[in-house]
C-alpha cells in the first residue's frame, strides 16, 4: 500500500485529506509540525509527502530543504501562499509539485498520481508516446499530429520531450533555461516563451485551454497530455 505523510498544522485539512486519500487506497501518516514531519519521514519512510508551507515551528521551505538533504521522496507542497516567488522557491528547494489552497480533491489526486508515477520509474519512456491525436516517436525523433508529420527543430523537440518525460510536473523557467541555454541566460525567459509558443502553434495547442502544455504563470510549464494505454 502506498503511504503518504501529511505535514499540516490545520486539523481540519488533515482530516479531510485523510478521509479522501484513504478512500482512494492510500495509507496516511499525519504530522502537525515541521519537526514531527521530519521525524515521521525518517521513521515511517513514506512514499510521498504532502507539505504545508505555513507551519508553526519551522517554515515549510526550510523543512523542504532539510528533507531534501537525506531523502528524494516526492513532495507536493500545499499552501495558501500563492506568490510566484514562493512557488519558484519551493520548486527550487526540490518539491515536485505545488498545489495552491484552496484546491479540489480531484486536482490533488491527479498530482499525487503524477508524482508517484515519476518516482516509481515505471514511466520508462516507451519507443512511441501517443494519445491518439499526437504521436512522438523517440527512436526516429519525429512528431506526428493527426497522422501528419510536424517539422520540429532539434531544440523544440528536446524541450517537448523534456516536458513529456516529467508528465504533470512543473518545470521552472530557471530549470529549462539552465538546461538548454546555460547559466548565463537565466534571465532570458523570453527565449523560452518564443520556443514554447512555436511548439504550441505546431501542436495546435490553445494556451488559454491547453491540452498539452500548461503555463504556470511566473513559474514554469507543465506537460499535461495523457498517453493512451496500449499504444
Amino acid at each position: 500500500m502506498i503511504r503518504i505523510l501529511i505535514i499540516d498544522d490545520e486539523p481540519q485539512i488533515r482530516r479531510f485529506l485523510t478521509i479522501s486519500l484513504e478512500s482512494q487506497g492510500y495509507s496516511i501518516i499525519e504530522a502537525e509540525t515541521g519537526k514531527q514531519g521530519l521525524q515521521q519521514l525518517v521513521l515511517e519512510q513514506p512514499d510521498l509527502v504532502i507539505l504545508d508551507l505555513g507551519l508553526p515551528d519551522i517554515d515549510g521551505q526550510q523543512v523542504l530543504k532539510e528533507l531534501r538533504a537525506f531523502s528524494d521522496v516526492p513532495v507536493i507542497v500545499l499552501s495558501v501562499r500563492n506568490s510566484e516567488k514562493e512557488k519558484v522557491e519551493a520548486l527550487d528547494n526540490g518539491c515536485n509539485d505545488y498545489v495552491e489552497k484552496p484546491f479540489g480533491v480531484k486536482e490533488l489526486l491527479a498530482r499525487i498520481r503524477a508524482a508517484l508515477r515519476i518516482s516509481s520509474g515505471r514511466e520508462q519512456p516507451p519507443a512511441v508516446w501517443s494519445d491518439g491525436n499526437l504521436e512522438v516517436d523517440y527512436l526516429s525523433r519525429t512528431v506526428t499530429l493527426q497522422g501528419e508529420r510536424l517539422r520540429f527543430s532539434p531544440r523544440e523537440y528536446e524541450l517537448l520531450t523534456e516536458m513529456m518525460s516529467h508528465p504533470g510536473q512543473i518545470l521552472t523557467y530557471h530549470y529549462l533555461l539552465q538546461k538548454y541555454w546555460g547559466a548565463s541566460h537565466l534571465d532570458d525567459s523570453h527565449y523560452l516563451r518564443i520556443f514554447i509558443r512555436q511548439i504550441r502553434n505546431k501542436l495546435g495547442d490553445d494556451p488559454a485551454r491547453p491540452r498539452y502544455i500548461e503555463t504556470e504563470a511566473g513559474v514554469g510549464y507543465r506537460f499535461i497530455g495523457e498517453a493512451q494505454s496500449g499504444q
Partner: protein, 480 residues
C-alpha cells in the same frame, strides 16, 4: 546688548583726571619741607600713571597737563608763578605728557580687550541659552515663541521682529528656508505647521560694525538650524508613519487572504471529496466531511464578523449605545456564547459583592470579554481552569481573565493587542484571527477603559485585565 559700542568718555573719568593732581598737590605741599622738589615729581608721575590706567587716554593727558601746571606753580622757583626758569622743568613736563600718552594708550587697549571679552562671554551665554531652549522645541510655532521670548529679554530695542510675510517673500519661503539679505536688515522666513509664513528679521543700525552684525546674524542662524532640525524630525515621523501604514496594510492583506483561504481550503477540499469520491466513502466519512465543512464555514463567518467589527471601530463609526447593566449579566452571556468552543476547560467566575451597575454598551463589552475568553480557551489545555474575577478599585471595575496557557514573554505583552499579532507564529497554529484582542482594546478604549496584560508566565498562565470605568463620564449620580 549694544552699549559696549558707545565710545564716549564717562564723566567719572574727567573727575578722576582733575581730582588726582589736586590730591597729589595737596600731599606734596605737606611734604614739601621734608623731600626735595625732584622727588615730588615722582608723585605726580605716579598720579598720571594711575589716571591713565583707570581712565582713558584723554583724561590721562588732562591729568598730565594739570600735574605739570600744579608742580610748576607750587614747587618750582619762582614759586606761585607758571614761569619756567630751569630747563629740567621742561623735561619734567614732557616726561609727564609722554607717560600719560603711553600708559593711557596701553590701558585703554587693555580695557577694551577686557570689555570685549566680557561682551563675548555674555554673548556666548545668551547664544547657549537660546540654543538650549530652541533645542527643546518640537514645532515651528514653538520655535518662534521661544525665539521671541529670548530676544525680547536681551534686546529691548526691538532689534528682532517677527511678522507675517506676504507676497514674493512668502512664495520664496514656501520652497524652503531662505535668508534674505538687505542693506539694513536680514530676514529669515519660517513656515509653521498651519502653512503660515513668518518673517523673522533683524534691523541693523547704520553705525553697527560688521562684527556686531555677524553676531546678530548668528542668532538667526541658530533659529534656522533649529528649524531645519524640527523639519527633519517631522519628515522622519511622517516617513515612519507612512512605512508603518504600509506594513500594516501588507500584513492586513496577507492575513485576510490567509484567514479567508484556510477555512475555504478545508471547505472546498471536503465538499469536492464528497462530490468526486462519494462512491468510495462510507456514511461516517461523508458525515465527517460535512461536519468539517460546517465548522469551517462557521469559522469563516466568525472571522468576517470580526473583520467587519474591526473596520467599524477603526473608522470611528461605532456609536456607543450605553445602558445600565450588571457585570454578572455580561459575564454570563459571554460564557454562554463560549460553551460550544469549550473542549474540557473549566470556567470559574468570582465576582465581588456590591459591584456597581455599569453604564456601557452591553453588546460591545460582551464581545470584548468574549474575545478575551475565546483566546483563553484556545491556549488552555483540556481539564485546566480559566478564571474570571471582577473587583472594584477606585473608579474602575477590574475584570481579570486568567488562563492556564503557556504564557507570553513579557516583551510581547503590549504587542498582543496589535492587529494580526498571531501572524508572527506560523500560518494558523491556533485558529486565532489576530483581531480579537485588538477589537477588545478598541471597545474598552471607546468606553474610556483599557485592556492590558497583568501577568504572564509558563506556570501561572496569562492574566488579562479589562479596566472599565465604573462611573461613566457625565453620568455620575445618574445611577441613583
Amino acid at each position: 546688548m549694544a552699549d559696549f559700542m558707545r565710545n564716549k568718555t564717562p564723566l567719572r573719568h574727567w573727575l578722576i583726571a582733575i581730582c588726582v593732581p589736586l590730591i597729589i598737590t595737596l600731599g606734596c605741599w605737606l611734604l614739601d619741607h621734608i623731600l626735595p622738589d625732584a622727588s615730588l615729581v615722582l608723585f605726580y608721575l605716579a598720579g598720571v600713571l594711575l589716571t591713565a590706567f583707570t581712565t582713558a587716554i584723554r583724561p590721562a593727558l588732562l591729568a598730565a597737563v594739570l600735574s605739570f601746571l600744579a608742580f610748576n606753580f607750587f614747587f618750582t622757583t619762582p614759586h606761585y608763578t607758571l614761569y619756567i626758569l630751569h630747563r629740567e622743568d621742561l623735561l619734567t613736563a614732557s616726561i609727564l605728557v609722554l607717560v600719560a600718552l603711553v600708559t593711557g594708550h596701553l590701558a585703554a587697549g587693555l580695557r577694551e580687550k577686557v570689555q570685549a571679552l566680557e561682551n563675548s562671554i555674555r554673548w556666548t551665554r545668551q547664544q547657549m541659552n537660546l540654543a538650549q531652549s530652541l533645542a527643546s522645541c518640537m514645532s515651528a510655532e514653538e520655535l518662534l515663541r521661544c525665539f521671541a521670548a529670548h530676544t525680547s529679554q536681551y534686546s529691548a530695542g526691538g532689534l528682532y521682529q517677527i511678522e507675517p510675510l506676504s507676497g514674493a517673500a512668502a512664495i520664496a519661503a514656501d520652497r524652503g528656508l531662505t535668508v534674505n539679505h538687505e542693506a539694513d536688515r536680514v530676514t529669515l522666513a519660517v513656515k509653521d505647521n498651519a502653512g503660515e509664513i513668518h518673517g523673522v528679521s533683524i534691523r541693523f543700525r547704520r553705525s553697527q560694525p560688521t562684527w556686531a552684525r555677524a553676531q546678530l546674524e548668528a542668532t538667526l542662524e541658530l533659529l534656522r538650524l533649529a528649524l531645519s532640525r524640527v523639519q527633519l524630525i517631522e519628515n522622519l515621523q511622517r516617513e515612519t508613519m507612512h512605512k508603518e501604514r504600509e506594513q500594516l496594510r501588507s500584513a492586513l492583506l496577507s492575513s485576510i487572504s490567509h484567514d479567508l483561504r484556510t477555512p475555504l481550503a478545508t471547505m472546498i477540499g471536503s465538499v469536492s471529496s464528497l462530490c468526486d469520491l462519494r462512491a468510495s466513502l462510507n456514511e461516517a466519512q461523508q458525515d465527517e466531511l460535512l461536519k468539517n465543512t460546517l465548522s469551517e464555514a462557521r469559522r469563516l463567518d466568525r472571522y468576517i464578523q470580526k473583520l467587519l467589527d474591526m473596520t467599524k471601530i477603526g473608522q470611528g463609526e461605532l456609536k456607543l449605545e450605553r445602558d445600565w447593566v450588571g457585570i454578572d449579566e455580561i459575564v454570563s452571556v459571554s460564557i454562554r456564547r463560549l460553551n460550544p468552543l469549550l473542549d474540557g476547560q473549566q470556567i470559574i467566575t468570582e465576582l465581588d459583592d456590591d459591584l456597581p451597575l455599569l453604564f456601557v454598551h452591553a453588546a460591545l463589552l460582551e464581545q470584548a470579554l468574549f474575545n478575551v475568553l475565546e483566546n483563553a480557551v484556545r491556549y488552555t489545555p483540556a481539564g485546566k481552569v480559566i478564571r474570571i474575577h471582577a473587583t472594584l478599585q477606585e473608579q474602575y471595575l477590574l475584570l481579570d481573565i486568567s488562563d492556564s496557557g503557556p504564557g507570553i514573554p513579557e516583551a510581547q505583552w503590549p504587542a498582543i493587542f496589535d492587529m494580526f499579532f498571531t501572524l508572527a507564529r506560523g500560518d494558523q497554529k491556533t485558529g486565532g484571527t489576530g483581531l480579537g484582542l485588538t477589537i477588545c482594546q478598541g471597545i474598552l478604549a471607546a468606553h474610556g477603559g483599557s485592556a492590558s496584560v497583568v501577568s504572564s508566565s509558563a506556570e501561572q498562565g496569562t492574566c488579562i485585565r479589562l479596566k472599565i470605568p465604573a462611573n461613566a463620564p457625565g453620568y455620575e449620580g445618574a445611577q441613583a
